[in-house]
């Protein structure tokens, strides 16, 4: 059953050095506040898993918190590249980073297999690409048609972190809008932390609402504005200007570090 707790307590209880951590949210509902709290608590040596690393993982990689990145698209959506990610890969700054990369379809199927506690998923893809040589995939033959398929290994994060619009006092969570792979990420993980815009007495079912029952979640923490500069549909708007600003700021190591210190590390919590 989910415990309602503060974000610092939830992170302290659930995220450990060296963990494989999946923080999901497909453009929408990216759990920035939780990621920043992980940085403030100095967690390191993490295996960061996320289909689209986005600015959040750019920040975590830039501060050296990640030893490995598992991903499928490391760009700043609609803007360009992620400069801290590039700097880590191209110049090992601030530390070398191991990459495990897939296609979106591969990552999505890997999460779905993890949520089903299956060891792998089968799909079509990878064949004929150079991804097949660098990603941990394996050929598989359909026993009925003989067609050659591809197996991808399940993703089983030690801890998954997602952000949602609301939770009730029993820790049942509801999110709406673009659902991404958040449910799969929560169900694939050994431990799950959900931050929410607000705690309500009772969840009112919403169009497009995805409910994750509290009994498969370990901790729920209130974090209003906790997906900024991403957004929580109906509550906050995507800060497209910040995504453009980040493209400039993050090109410079010192400016990046100073900004992170001032806006993330030296604060007790994220400003809202």
């Amino acid at each position: 059953m989910a415990e309602l707790t503060s974000l610092p307590e939830a992170v302290a209880a659930l995220v450990r050095d060296g963990d494989a951590v999946a923080m999901e949210g497909f453009t929408h509902l990216i759990p920035f506040a939780a990621g920043h709290e992980i940085l403030r608590q100095g967690r390191g040596d993490l295996e960061l898993i996320r289909m689209t690393p986005d600015i959040l993982y750019d920040q975590m990689i830039g501060l050296g918190a990640a030893r490995k990145l598992v991903f499928s698209y490391g760009g700043n959506p609609g803007v360009g590249g992620l400069h801290r990610f590039r700097d880590a890969v191209e110049h090992d700054w601030p530390r070398p980073i191991e990459l495990e990369e897939h296609s979106h379809a591969g990552m999505a199927n890997r999460y779905a297999a993890g949520a089903a506690r299956m060891p792998c998923a089968i799909m079509r893809g990878y064949l004929g690409t150079d991804l097949a040589a660098i990603a941990p995939v394996a050929p598989m033959t359909c026993p009925f048609t003989g067609e050659q398929l591809i197996a991808v290994p399940a993703l089983r994060p030690a801890v998954s972190v997602v952000h949602a619009q609301e939770a009730d006092r029993a820790g049942n969570v509801q999110l709406w809008g673009i659902p991404g792979v958040q449910k799969e990420a929560v169900l694939a993980a050994d431990r799950a932390l959900v931050t929410v815009e607000r705690i309500v007495d009772e969840l009112t079912p919403r169009p497009g609402g995805v409910v994750i029952p509290g009994w498969v979640i370990d901790a729920v923490a209130e974090a209003p504005g906790g997906s900024r500069p991403s957004y929580s549909l109906g509550i906050t708007d995507r800060d497209n200007e910040f995504y453009r600003f980040w493209d400039k700021l993050s090109r410079d190591r010192d400016e990046f570090t100073a900004w992170m210190r001032e806006h993330v590390l030296d604060r007790a919590r994220d400003a809202v």
Binding site: H28, Y126, P179
Partner: protein
């Protein structure tokens, strides 16, 4: 059709967008990422094909954006969609099945068989430039019914050999897609800011088939990193109409 005039001559980028939008005149559905492909698809809905179904990999099916979205997950896409699905469902039930008719894809490198690189420039282990990576491209190109590549024409992009093959276009020869189990037609056109290239029906090698207004064959060949084949008859892209250009500029100013 009369050429645009009211708002000044069309730029090469505007021509590219307009040509891409025309390609969707009779399409039922199009899969798009952000940037020029998204602009072209929204423009197509405005001027050619109001019933066109826009599908974004974020999970929105039938989105009707008024603005050009910055990201594929902008709120407006979710709020105007006919249906929103999870990412696993998007790839398994919608992309992987060939339900979507046309896909627009970009890339950092394109080779002569329309294979695409969006992973690295240089060596994979020690890249000169680390690019974002595959995203949805490999399966989108593999399984949507046809693919239109949108790219800026230069020898940096149109290369004789990819540094990394992220996405199979036509592979190494015309039998490759079938051999690899890829089900769509693959790339049927590459629309650049200078011209349109289409795969030769026999060899699948990209061939210059249309020149945008004011562009010559030599200019296109110089901007291509291999010895570009030229069709026996090269068409001339009709310039953007007033309606197209006005709508495009209005869209980008919203």
């Amino acid at each position: 059709m009369s050429a645009a005039s009211a708002n000044g001559a069309a730029t090469a980028g505007e021509v590219q967008t307009v040509v891409a939008a025309r390609r969707l005149r009779d399409a039922t559905s199009v899969f798009i990422g952000v940037g020029r492909p998204s602009t072209a698809a929204i423009l197509a809905r405005m001027v050619h094909n109001p019933g066109l179904v826009l599908v974004y990999e974020s999970g929105t099916i039938g989105a009707k954006p008024y603005h050009v979205p910055l990201s594929i997950g902008d709120g407006e896409l979710a709020q105007t969609a006919d249906a929103i699905v999870s990412v696993p469902e998007m790839f398994n039930y919608w992309i992987g099945t060939g339900r979507v008719q046309v896909a627009f894809l970009g890339a950092a490198q394109v080779d002569r068989h329309a294979n695409l690189n969006s992973t690295v420039i240089g060596d994979y282990e020690h890249p000169r430039t680390r690019l974002p990576g595959a995203g949805g491209a490999p399966e989108i190109a593999g399984f949507c019914r046809e693919v239109v590549v949108i790219a800026t024409h230069s020898t940096r992009t149109f290369v004789s050999k990819l540094d990394f093959r992220t996405t199979v276009g036509h592979g190494d020869d015309p039998a490759d897609r079938t051999r690899l189990g890829l089900r769509g037609l693959g790339p049927t056109a590459v629309i650049t800011d200078l011209a349109v290239l289409e795969p030769d029906p026999d060899t699948c090698e990209l061939t210059l088939t249309a020149l945008h207004p004011g562009v010559g064959v030599g200019e296109v060949r110089e901007a291509t990193g291999w010895d570009l084949a030229v069709a026996s008859t090269v068409a001339h892209t009709p310039p953007p109409t007033d309606e197209e250009l006005t709508a495009l500029r209005e869209l980008l100013n919203r």
